[in-house]
Amino acid sequence: MWAIEVRELVVEYRQAFRPPVRAVDRLSFGVREGEIVGFLGVNGAGKSSTIKVLMGFQPPTAGEVRLFGQPATDARARQLVGFLPETALYSPYLTPYETMRLYGALQGLTGHSLNAQIEALLAAVGIAPKMHTLNRHLSKGMLQRLGIAQALLGNPKLLILDEVSSGLDPVGRRELRDLLRLQRERGATIFFSSHELGEVASLCDRILVIHRGRLIAEHTLSELSGRFESLEDYFIRTVQQGADALAQEVAA
């Protein structure tokens, strides 16, 4: 079964007195349940716009997006999803524990099970000792860990993570990889964007590369092994070829 289905997705941003900017252009892809898929692209490629539509934060200009067969805008679809936004600054006047309680309650979790989950997750991301310190006293890396913890509340079937390793130190990245592997082992589907290609290589089953809003490549990691020096080498060449192809298409 498909955890994510994206068909002919178009995202445009309207501007006053100017033609709209097309951030995503007829994008189609799917992610099967249990897969870990890396979503790659240079800055401004359309990754965050795609993720916003996946999460129902904004309606698509055209096309269709479904999560577990339900429209992405349906609140019920989000019951199964954990989401990490890119660099969120969690309320400076709450502690990590209170932040987790807020999101847990909004997830429909209550009582002892919520408390147990909060303590376990904060310990898993390594900020249990700071769980009663105000968020404003936490470093950027710690806030990112808090973000990861809140995304894991309620053991979601699908994790959508935007720039997942942003702000994390090397130790934090390793811990994150271990944590995501654990999630996979329990059967979660993971769809994430990252600029850390080493991380992508070590975690993913498959990668999707988009450029200027279009899908320009889709490979499993086994397809790539031996053909390129590194994932970075593959990514740069793919993006370059994709850019040339798009330029030719425009010229034609």
Partner: protein, 260 residues
Amino acid sequence: MSVSLIQVCRALTVAGLLETLRRKDLYVVLMLMALMVLGASTFRVFGVRGLEIFIKDTTFLAMGIFSTVLTVLIAARQLPDEVQRRTIYPLLARPITRGQLLMGKWLTAFITAGACFLILAGAAWLLLLMLGVPLKPIFGQYLLLKLIGIGWLCALGVALSVYLTPAANVTLSLILAFGSGLFNRLLLMAHWERGLDALWLNWLYGVLPHYDLFDMSQKVVYDWDPIAWWVIGAMAVYALGSGGAYLLLGWLRFRRQVLG
């Protein structure tokens, strides 16, 4: 598992209350108010006696202004703060609708601002008691009507925050709150001086905000008798009707708004 509106409201309200108490706004306002009331009362030391009405007037003036400013600030920052910090995304990533979030934010603002007002009122009451200036039972009606007004003002502030930047929202809300008495007076003058038709006048009167009608502080200051309860009922109906309309307008935009 679906999340009920009550659950959403409770979760957001607890977090909102904690945030507000940890900000310094309320304490600053409390200190300013105490300074004003005690400042007014110090004139007894210099031989000016019999200033009970002046002290009461100053207290209720301070309470009215500070509670209104606090309410507007609290309501105006509910949604924009989440967008600015990008925490709107983990909120909306939960199985809740945007309508539930908007209602939750309104209730958070209402309960938080209402609690701040009651703290201010309690402090003012204690200060006045200490100064030997007792308040009559009409004070209870004043508190109730003002709380209803705070709920109404929160609806206005939360709805405007969907359409305007926080600074523009605060400015407009304060103008509408403090200027409502003036607008109403101008309408009456337009009727008497320029012959504005009574039907038009009443229609415009219904559309324009009436925050001034939630404030019966002057009756408390001058020790008038309690007012008829139907008035408080009528103002509650007005607050529900127009506050609900503001929230509906806010929701119509917020449900499709591109955030961030």
